[in-house]
């Protein structure tokens, strides 16, 4: 091989970069994060149900939050009519976080796992972990 040293050095860098995920994660336990919903407020509820179904919330909570933001801040409308006809006050602080007061165990579990950085807390006051 001509210029073997330089070429092999380049190949080594390539291999180190490409195989990074493998040697970085090999042997690590692959645990699916489970957001916790056992806050005192939720325990008090007779029917443990968010504003929409769990499946809907899991897939679309971000869109719903975005709609709520637009509706409340831009449209001035603070009433949300859920698909089952129940009415809720549109408020992150007073509706969402009243039940889900455990940001660390609820929001952050999946968000940190999947590397999602929502910008909710650019404007809102972030709850300090689980409130007793």
């Amino acid at each position: 091989m001509y210029n073997g040293g330089k070429i092999l050095f380049g190949i080594l860098i390539f291999l180190a970069l490409v195989t990074f995920p493998f040697y970085n994660d090999i042997g690590k336990a692959n645990v699916r994060p489970e957001p916790k919903i056992n806050t005192p407020e939720i325990q008090k509820l007779s029917e443990k149900q968010c504003v929409e179904s769990q499946a809907f919330m899991k897939a679309n909570h971000m869109t719903l939050l975005n709609e709520w933001r637009d509706s409340a801040v831009r449209g001035g409308n603070r009433t949300y009519v859920a698909s089952d006809g129940k009415k809720y006050t549109i408020s992150l602080q007073n509706t969402c976080l009243r039940c889900h007061s455990n940001k660390k165990e609820f929001c952050d579990t999946c968000h940190s796992y999947a590397g999602v950085n929502p910008y909710c807390w650019d404007c809102h006051i972030a709850p300090k972990g689980a409130k007793k």
Partner: protein, 354 residues
């Protein structure tokens, strides 16, 4: 023809993944087996091809000389375009690899009123740089699915990429730029007659494939959302060699992964190897020092030569007998008596005679 063929192949690939997952339920094939095969093919193939290139000799110094070469001290050298030292070559390679400097010098010729004119043509460079850098950032952003905890630089990258805060999930600019740039690069092949003439299926296929990859990725993020936690479970299973197929990850994810696997498998066999090739371009990575350093052709082998001295050594006896003047004054001892007279007759050594 090439374009249509490539387009049909990409559509077929999408259909294969769709049918395989949605109808046949082969999640483990499309989510585990094929990605492993693809990564292995990619790594082995790229290393094999680079080593194969490394074994090819470069017979001549063919550095391209895009500027004043090193000359007299009062003539200013173009140190980056025409480097004479290793440092200069590294500078040129960095500019080439990161900023596509030689493409930046792209020119276009056209006839205007019967006169041939040349002008700078930057659109190809703009699209190429937008395409490559977006693709690179998109690739780096995917590390969030392949490392736990997510490295902080990936979060920084995401925040920069989504800094416009459009919609939720945030719109990543690189995804849009990638799709726009690849569309431009494709349309260029359709609408510029000269480029269209030289375009083959191997040019269209990667473009359609990358377009499909970017589109499925964008669809998956903003439109048909997939369970990202399930996706990460799958990808983490792959990289930790504990593969799992979580339930409830949408088919579009498997289509995306199948297309990416196709790209990885296709990579070492195709023009996409320019990723490794750019580092091995002799016109870019050789210093223009051909007037200072002798570049020996590595093909050179010891040539068998027969010098005149050896010739005379071999045929001296015959030459003397035939009366041919010889240069050597050394006469083998055993011949001294016998040939003394003839040597004198033949008038050797010639130089002494004059």
């Amino acid at each position: 023809m090439g374009a249509l063929f490539s387009f049909v192949v990409v559509i077929l690939l999408i259909l294969v993944a769709y049918v395989g997952v949605a109808a046949a339920g082969l999640q483990s094939i499309f989510g585990i087996v094929i990605p492993y095969v693809a990564v292995l093919t990619f790594i082995v193939g790229v290393v094999y091809r680079v080593i194969k290139w490394g074994r090819s000799p470069v017979p001549f110094p063919i550095a391209t000389t895009g500027g004043q070469q090193k000359s007299l001290p009062w003539i200013k050298q173009a140190k980056l375009d025409n480097p004479s030292s290793t440092t200069g070559v590294i500078g040129r390679m960095v500019l080439e690899v990161l900023l596509f400097r030689s493409l930046f010098r792209n020119t276009k010729s056209e006839l205007r009123d019967g006169k041939l004119g040349y002008g700078s043509a930057k659109w190809l460079w703009v699209a190429a740089i937008a395409f490559h850098w977006s693709f690179w950032i998109v690739l780096l952003r995917h590390i969030r699915l392949f490392a736990t905890p997510v490295p902080s630089f990936v979060n920084v990258l995401e925040n920069l990429d989504g800094f416009l805060q459009i919609g939720v999930p945030r719109l990543f600019l690189t995804g849009v730029i990638l799709l726009l740039a690849v569309t431009y690069l494709l349309l260029r092949r359709f609408y510029v007659p000269q480029v269209r003439y030289i375009s083959l299926a191997s040019d269209y296929f990667p473009l359609f494939l990358i377009m499909a990859i970017a589109s499925t990725g964008i669809l998956m993020r903003y439109f048909f959302r997939v369970d990202i936690v399930g996706v990460k479970e799958l990808t983490m299973g792959l990289v930790s060699f504990n593969p799992v197929i979580p339930a409830g990850v949408g088919t579009i994810f498997y289509i995306h992964v199948f297309l990416v696997s196709t790209l990885f498998i296709y990579f070492p066999f195709s023009k996409l190897m320019h990723m490794g090739g750019v580092f091995l371009s002799p016109t870019r990575n050789l210093a223009n020092n051909s007037r200072m350093v002798r570049h020996a052709n590595p093909w050179n082998y010891p040539v068998k030569v027969h010098t005149y001295d050896e010739y005379e050594e071999e045929f001296r006896e015959k030459m003397i007998n035939a009366g041919i003047p010889i240069e050597s004054t050394v006469l083998p001892e055993e011949f001294e008596e016998e040939f003394k007279e003839k040597v004198e007759d033949a008038g050797t050594p010639v130089r002494e005679e004059e």
